[in-house]
């Protein structure tokens, strides 16, 4: 695990930087709808992770360090669960909070499902289970 942690930390730093920058950009675009920003980031990250897990990473030629750099590193840190929960808390209206959480988690899961489907043409036919994400 010790040698694996370095690419994850480096990837995590990259993912965090991308999330902050994209959040700023999206918040400027959707300035009156700041909740949309983190929802869009999470959906994008979920799509990409599913696409990689079910597609390119099923190929044995993909190096291990690339998988852990991109999976637990970049895409893991690019998306955030705690930020969604905090926004849900700060809404302070039970039904709006429930709707926001359902929409946030629903869009990420739908994006992940789309990622799995989109990855099918790129998947290696024999083994499709990949552990690193």
């Amino acid at each position: 695990m010790k040698k694996d942690i370095v690419p994850v930390i480096l990837g995590g730093a990259v993912g965090t930087a991308l999330r902050i920058v994209l959040d700023i950009v999206l918040s400027l675009i959707f300035f009156s709808l700041s909740l949309v920003s983190i929802m869009a980031i999470n959906a994008l990250g979920s799509f990409l992770l599913a696409f990689l897990v079910a597609g390119l990473w099923t190929r044995k030629s993909t190096p291990h360090w690339v998988k852990i750099f991109m999976g637990p590193g970049v895409l893991g840190a690019f998306t955030t669960f705690s930020g969604v929960m905090l926004q849900g808390l700060l809404i302070q209206d039970m039904w709006t909070t429930a709707g926001f959480l359902a929409l946030s988690i629903g869009t990420s899961m739908f994006a992940a499902l789309l990622g799995f489907w989109a990855a099918q043409p790129f998947a290696q036919k024999s083994k499709r289970k990949v552990a690193n994400r």
């Binding site: 993912g15 999330r19 637990p72 669960f81 808390l89």
Partner: protein, 126 residues
């Protein structure tokens, strides 16, 4: 935005990701099992972001420090993408109960944790 807190937030995000990775290696999950590792990470991270927000609302933490800890560390530590992918994997495998418990359990515990953290830190209730 100042560059120094931004750099520290990026560093904290990397460390958060490293810690999450360590937890998932200590609590490894088969693709057909219950994803305890990510559930634990997401609930603990939600508790932590609640505490940070509560402390920041009482001005115990400065805006820069709470930004580094909340957006940087907690953002990098917790993950929506792995949660979503693990849930969809189980749904695709027909493991509806595990997927359902993961989705509902993570959301309910995450919301409870962030609220508990906020109240524990003495955040004002309007």
């Amino acid at each position: 935005m100042n560059i120094v807190p931004l750099m520290f937030a990026i560093l904290a995000g990397g460390l958060g990701a490293g810690l999450r990775f360590a937890v998932t290696r200590i609590l490894p999950t088969k693709t057909t099992g219950f994803p305890w590792g990510i559930l634990l990470v997401n609930v603990v991270g939600s508790l932590l972001i609640g505490v940070i927000t509560g402390l920041a609302s009482r001005s115990v933490l400065t805006g820069d420090i709470s930004f580094v800890l909340a957006v940087g560390f907690c953002g990098g530590f917790t993950t929506m993408s792995t949660f979503a992918v693990e849930s969809i994997e189980r749904l695709r495998a027909g493991l509806w109960l595990i997927a359902g418990l993961n989705i509902v359990g993570s959301t309910a515990l995450g919301l409870l944790a962030v609220g508990a953290g906020y109240l524990l830190a003495g955040g004002p209730v309007s």
